[in-house]
């Protein structure tokens, strides 16, 4: 048998799929022909290449993927990814207001304002005796909607949405006690320092109210971020409220506060004196 014929049989021989007779013939050729013999040897020697192990990270990643699939998040995330392919930026949140109540409330607000202006500018109706009453009623509804938006946005996961919530609250002329509570809660407990500072800024607008003032004085705590502490001290000094003095002094004595904040509180107490 020549090399050409062997070449056709070699692959089957290497996988052990030849009849014993043919296999014997191939073997005879291989011992006599160095070229073909080498090729068969190379095939065998490929076994020298070690089987490698992937890093444990691969297993971890696979498990994470499988878990997300089993919890049903996988389907949802892939669905979400598909939806993103057809963006509708102008109508953000309009279609799925049921899933995004904040967007729903925001849209309700937009429509209410539009309706209000269309109605006012149409000029068809003469000023009727009860139109003023209706406008007042609409305004109070608008205020209620704004409150609702502010409240629900303050509870959002993302810091930027909470910031937006804080800015909504500043559009209220007469803040509801609920909104004030939410703002104070944000001032004390929000994860983001920026949101806390923004809520302090919003609260400073209502510093004329005694209940807000006393809450602001109490908000000066050692556990706060130094940035918020300094902003609060500035605000208390601006308010010229002598009732803040005991709290400032107590705060000054706290061993845990930052040295820079301590300097600032010293300055604040001087100012108030």
């Amino acid at each position: 048998m020549n090399c050409e014929a062997i070449g056709e049989l070699l692959p089957d021989y290497l996988q052990g799929r030849l009849s014993p007779e043919l296999a014997r013939e191939v073997e005879e050729h291989l011992t006599g022909c160095p070229m073909c013999g080498e090729e068969a040897a190379l095939w065998k020697n490929l076994a020298l290449l070690p089987e490698e192990q992937p890093s444990p990270a691969l297993q971890t990643r696979f498990k994470a993927m499988l878990e997300s699939y089993q919890e049903g998040r996988w389907e949802k995330s892939s669905l979400a990814a598909e939806k993103q392919k057809t963006p509708t930026p102008m109508l953000w949140g309009l279609g799925n207001w049921r899933r995004m109540p904040v967007a729903g409330v925001a849209w309700a607000c937009v429509f209410l304002i539009c309706g209000f202006f269309i109605g006012r500018n149409s000029g068809v109706t003469k000023p009727s005796p009860d139109s003023d009453a209706r406008i007042t009623q609409m305004q109070s509804e608008l205020a209620a909607t704004r409150q609702l938006v502010a409240l629900s946005m303050l509870q959002q996961q993302s810091a930027s949405q909470r910031l937006e919530g804080v800015s909504w609250s500043t559009r209220l002329q007469q803040p509801d006690p609920k909104v004030l509570d939410a703002l104070f809660h944000t001032l004390r407990f929000d994860n983001s320092v920026d949101v806390r500072l923004a809520s302090l800024d919003a609260l400073s607008r209502y510093a004329g109210r005694p209940e807000v003032r006393s809450e602001l004085v109490n908000a000066l705590q050692a556990k706060q971020s130094p940035l918020v502490q300094i902003a609060l001290i500035d605000l208390l000094v601006d308010m010229h409220d002598q009732n803040a003095m005991p709290q400032l002094k107590r705060f000054q004595q706290d061993p845990k506060i930052d040295p820079n904040v301590r300097k600032h509180v010293d300055w604040g107490i001087d100012q108030l004196n």
């Binding site: 070449g7 692959p11 020298l48 070690p50 890093s55 499988l66 089993q70």
Partner: protein, 194 residues
């Protein structure tokens, strides 16, 4: 339980059965990519991609058809997609990934290093049939189905791959600068089909 039974369960939504298939195949798939492309991190990414696609396209698996052929089809496509996407940044050089040689004897390890370098230098289509038949233990029929060609074409390609491997191996062994990947070298080749 057979691969096909497991995959049928995955298809009908029993996700944890994919874990069993992962245990069986993640190492072979990793080695397939390692020997085809070299880079460890890329190989791991691709293995993850294969199992992701198995889950994503589970409904396209036809029950009672060979699972392995289907899986390697996905594996090949994942690799082709990857290199299509990253063609510009990934031009793999064998030197980038020195092989960890087995520690039997000095001579054996030397041979393994040379063999690996030679394997990486032969043309890709030939390397693929060698890797699939030698390391992944796929039958020629399965490979033919996978590549969409005749069984005899696969066998011819295996033989040609061994010829090319031998040439490149000799070039490396004699310390000559190896020729370009896939080029028919300067070495005489009396064993080839003329």
């Amino acid at each position: 339980m057979s691969d096909e039974e497991l995959m049928a369960q995955v298809r009908s939504g029993v996700g944890e059965m994919l874990g069993v298939l992962f245990e069986r195949y993640h190492v072979p798939l990793f080695n397939f990519y390692r020997k085809m492309s070299g880079d460890r991190a890329v190989s791991e990414d691709l293995v993850q991609e294969v199992f992701f696609r198995i889950l994503k396209y589970r409904h396209s698996y036809r029950v009672d058809t060979p699972f392995r052929a289907w899986m390697y089809q996905i594996a090949r496509n994942a690799r082709l997609d990857y290199f299509r996407k990253h063609r510009a940044e990934v031009s793999w050089e064998p030197e980038m990934s020195p092989m960890i040689a087995p520690v039997d004897t000095a001579q054996q390890s030397q041979e393994a290093v040379l063999l690996h370098a030679a394997l990486m230098r032969i043309s890709e289509d030939k390397r693929e049939v060698l890797v699939l038949s030698r390391f992944q233990d796929l039958k020629y029929e399965e490979i033919a189905q996978l590549l969409g060609c005749e069984v005899n074409t696969v066998k011819t390609r295996v033989h040609r791959a061994l010829q090319e491997l031998r040439q490149v191996f000799h070039q490396l062994e004699s310390g000559k600068p190896p020729g370009r990947k896939g080029s028919e070298g300067a070495w005489p080749n009396p064993g080839s089909v003329q």
